[in-house]
């Protein structure tokens, strides 16, 4: 039986690493531009080159890789029915906050409502 504080710490670790990785990756992809347009102009090689020559992208991938191993660790100690919805729900909310603060995205009422609905929905789906 895993102690509640340990479960909370593992899930919090996954959420923080995952949010940091997703914000950095989103910032990288925003700075690169529409990949479909790049692929239409310079082919798949050009699109891959545009992604792998962006330093922010590697920052994001680094954090997402750490989040992945933290998730493996969490799945090894906790049930999927706890880990998947808890991480998915909390990450939605932390990403909405981080998207507004760091990416300056227009998180309007519609997006907040969607984030809250999905968050509660994922929680209910696991119970």
């Amino acid at each position: 039986m895993t102690a509640p504080w340990f479960a909370t710490a593992i899930i919090a670790g996954v959420v923080v690493l995952s949010t940091t990785g997703e914000v950095l990756t989103a910032a990288a992809m925003k700075s690169i531009g529409d990949l479909d347009d790049i692929r239409a102009q310079s082919g798949l090689k050009g699109a891959i080159k545009a992604v792998v020559t962006c330093p922010l992208f590697f920052g994001g991938v680094g954090f997402l890789a750490m989040a992945f191993f933290a998730l493996l660790f969490a799945l090894n100690h906790l049930n999927l029915s706890l880990v998947a919805p808890a991480c998915a729900s909390l990450t939605l909310v932390t990403n909405a906050v981080a998207g507004k603060i760091f990416l300056k995205e227009n998180v309007d009422r519609r997006r907040w409502t969607a984030a809250v609905f999905v968050c509660v929905g994922v929680y209910l789906l696991a119970h």
Binding site: D36, L92, A115, V122
Partner: protein, 135 residues
């Protein structure tokens, strides 16, 4: 905010993100529950499990997810892509109900309804924040 209408191809990319992520997580879970408990004292053991079949399949699905996710982020906001692709959770629940004949409680149906509403909300709105060009 101007309203960017998504093309069929862009909807297909969002659908790939939605399907590959929960399927990949399920494969990882199946793989990880079949290996002995790993302690923080031996983190290298986490690398070894990457080469087991279920974890390997989960990783392949998650690579498909990541490629489509990056493409989606290049033309849509993070706060649009994440809720819009949450529909994958509903697909997994419906798959469990109608193919595996698992029972879905009233709470789960409520969850499915809420996620569907949330996805509907965000999908009706603009996919990207418009910015004034720098002078």
């Amino acid at each position: 905010m101007a309203h960017h209408r998504l093309s069929l191809r862009q909807y297909l990319i969002l659908a790939t993100v939605a399907i590959c992520a929960p399927l990949g997580d399920t494969c990882l879970s199946r793989g990880m529950t079949h290996v002995p408990a790993i302690s923080l004292a031996h983190p290298a053991a986490l690398v070894a499990v990457v080469f087991t079949p279920w974890v390997g399949l989960g990783i392949a699905l998650l690579i498909g997810f990541f490629a489509s996710y990056l493409t989606a982020l290049s033309w849509a906001d993070l706060t649009f892509v994440l809720p819009a692709t949450a529909f994958g959770n509903v697909l997994v629940a419906l798959f469990a109900r109608f193919w595996l004949h698992e029972t879905i409680s009233i709470w789960r149906w409520a969850g499915i309804a809420l996620i569907t509403l949330g996805v509907g909300f965000v999908a009706q709105g603009p996919s990207r924040t418009e910015r004034e060009p720098v002078q």
